[in-house]
């Protein structure tokens, strides 16, 4: 796509990108866990400009009104809610967690996680495809947390997913884009599919890098929530994302192996006089 077409496209839509037919105003999707206090969470979400926040569901004891309190808090933010199936190890767990989430949060959006391994929290891509297939048939709009594997991505799209969320690095590591080559390949291979880098981002520069590659959005949590100042870090990520996206639309220069002077060579003083003492 030409730079002009990209710029025109972004100018004609107020939404940053569209997923399942819904325009999303921000390219930052923010997790709601691990903040030092509910107020810091609220302030961080506002500072980030995020249009979508992720949430979960957990066991609740009788008379513990934590669920209602959190629901009221999120309701006051005026953002879209994307429930997750974090912690699910099997398709059955993920499917039934998604069904409970749909009733609780009154949305058919689900961030589908089927986790394969405790140490890496990497997606179980076989279970992921199986669960996505079932949920899509039940009318869910599935946001699958997946790897960069193109074959898996094809299966997820065939199952009915209209967005893919490849990991940057394992959840909570803050290592940034561990495999930029594979992510760039995925972006190029699926030019028309909304792609969100989910997990592993630790710094605004990581988010900027994903944006420069042309990813539609990033989803992060720990990097903001665990910052010394989460609200300032939320703002920093918003800035990184804005810079990276603008750079993508502006069209980045090609990298080259050898140096090439930026200052004109013609007219260089003493040019051609040789290298005498």
């Amino acid at each position: 796509m030409s730079t002009t077409t990209r710029a025109a496209r972004s100018a004609e839509h107020a939404s940053a990108f569209t997923v399942y037919g819904t325009g999303v105003a921000s390219r930052l999707m923010l997790g709601t866990a691990q903040y030092p206090s509910p107020q810091v969470l609220v302030d961080a979400v506002k500072a980030s400009g995020a249009g979508i926040v992720t949430v979960s569901l957990r066991r609740e004891a009788a008379r513990d009104k934590g669920g209602q309190r959190f629901w009221d808090l999120i309701g006051g933010l005026g953002v879209a809610v994307l429930p997750n199936t974090a912690g699910c190890r099997t398709p059955k767990e993920a499917i039934n967690t998604a069904r409970m989430a749909r009733e609780l949060f009154d949305t058919d959006w689900i961030k589908l996680e089927v986790i394969a391994n405790d140490d890496t929290l990497q997606p179980d891509v076989f279970g992921l495809v199986e669960a996505a297939t079932v949920l899509a048939k039940e009318g869910f709009k599935v946001f699958p947390y997946t790897t960069e594997d193109l074959g898996v991505a094809e299966r997820l799209l065939a199952a009915g997913c209209e967005v893919l969320m490849p990991w940057g690095a394992p959840i909570g590591t803050g290592r940034g884009l561990a495999n930029p080559y594979a992510l760039r390949t995925m972006r190029n291979y699926f030019p028309g599919v909304p792609l969100v880098v989910d997990a592993g981002l630790g710094a605004p520069s990581h988010a900027a890098q994903a944006m420069e590659m042309g990813f539609d959005a990033v989803l992060l949590n720990t990097a903001v929530a665990k910052a010394v100042d989460p609200v300032a870090m939320a703002r920093a990520f918003a800035g990184g994302i804005a810079a990276g996206r603008t750079a993508y639309e502006a069209g980045l220069m090609e990298q080259r192996d050898m140096a090439e002077p930026s200052t004109p060579v013609a007219g260089t003083p003493f040019f051609g006089l040789g290298q005498k003492g």
Binding site: G31, A33, L57, R59, E60, D64, W71
Partner: protein, 77 residues
């Protein structure tokens, strides 16, 4: 075992609720939520790993050994 205990045994189910052993009189999932004091709490439920919609709770019978999940909105990434 006293007579009272025997009678209790016939009217009580032993369930696993959110991973913990619970003895209760409730015959249905809706009755269980009331008996445990959830009231009108914003929760979703599953029985033996399968989602039970709110409107189906009253018609969902419970038996000893059943595993019930009662969950609510929480922070997530």
């Amino acid at each position: 075992m006293t007579l009272a205990e025997k009678m209790n045994e016939t009217t009580q189910s032993r369930l696993v609720v959110n991973g913990e052993a619970v003895a209760c009189k409730a015959a249905t999932l809706a009755q269980l939520l009331a008996e445990l004091g959830y009231g009108a709490a914003k929760v979703a439920t599953a029985l033996n790993g399968e989602f039970v919609p709110e409107k189906a709770r009253a018609a969902t019978p419970l038996a000893t050994g059943d595993a019930v999940e009662i969950v609510a909105p929480r922070q997530g990434g």
